[in-house]
Subunit: 101 residues, 2 copies
């Protein structure tokens, strides 16, 4: 298989997951409501993608209180940052390959 | 939803489909065996992705003979080229967004 295709990470291939990673890397951390609004996903769909990314070790969940109100935030792990960077690099090579025709 | 995320095309989001479109745009057209070898997919998996891309109007199937042997080739349509370019542009904006941190 072509090198740049092999490095495309299946954990990130859906638009929802690309969006989650992208928003979290720009925002550093975000809560469920912010992600839902930014990505226009349903609760169930967003929750299932967040769970999958957490299970892969790419996200961590931060539980805290704002005043007395519980607040759950999501943050990309070091491993997630590295994996997403590799994925972006693979996509970039794919794009370059398709520009050089 | 962020503009660059909205333009990511779900028809192209799997690695297999990115690979198919990329190989066909570079090679102009290719037969099943060539795609299978290039992308390391099973017959069933490749056939199902080709069918989906054809149904979306992004690929056309060219049936011809090489000598007496039937040969089926796949080629990207004008519509497919435009749609894939939009997808690549959206991914490029995603990449740039994540580089500017």
């Amino acid at each position: 298989m072509k090198e740049y295709i092999r490095h495309i990470n299946k954990d990130f291939e859906s638009r929802a997951r690309l969006g989650i990673m992208s928003v979290l890397l720009v925002a550093d951390s975000a809560d469920f409501g912010f992600l839902k609004e930014a990505l226009q996903l349903t609760d169930g769909n967003l929750a299932s993608h967040l769970r999958a990314l957490e299970d892969a070790g790419y996200l961590q969940v931060l539980k805290q209180f704002i005043g007395r109100k519980p607040n759950t935030r999501y943050q990309v792990t070091v491993q997630g940052t590295a994996a997403f960077r590799n994925h972006m690099d693979a996509l970039e090579r794919l794009i370059l390959t398709n520009k050089h025709q």
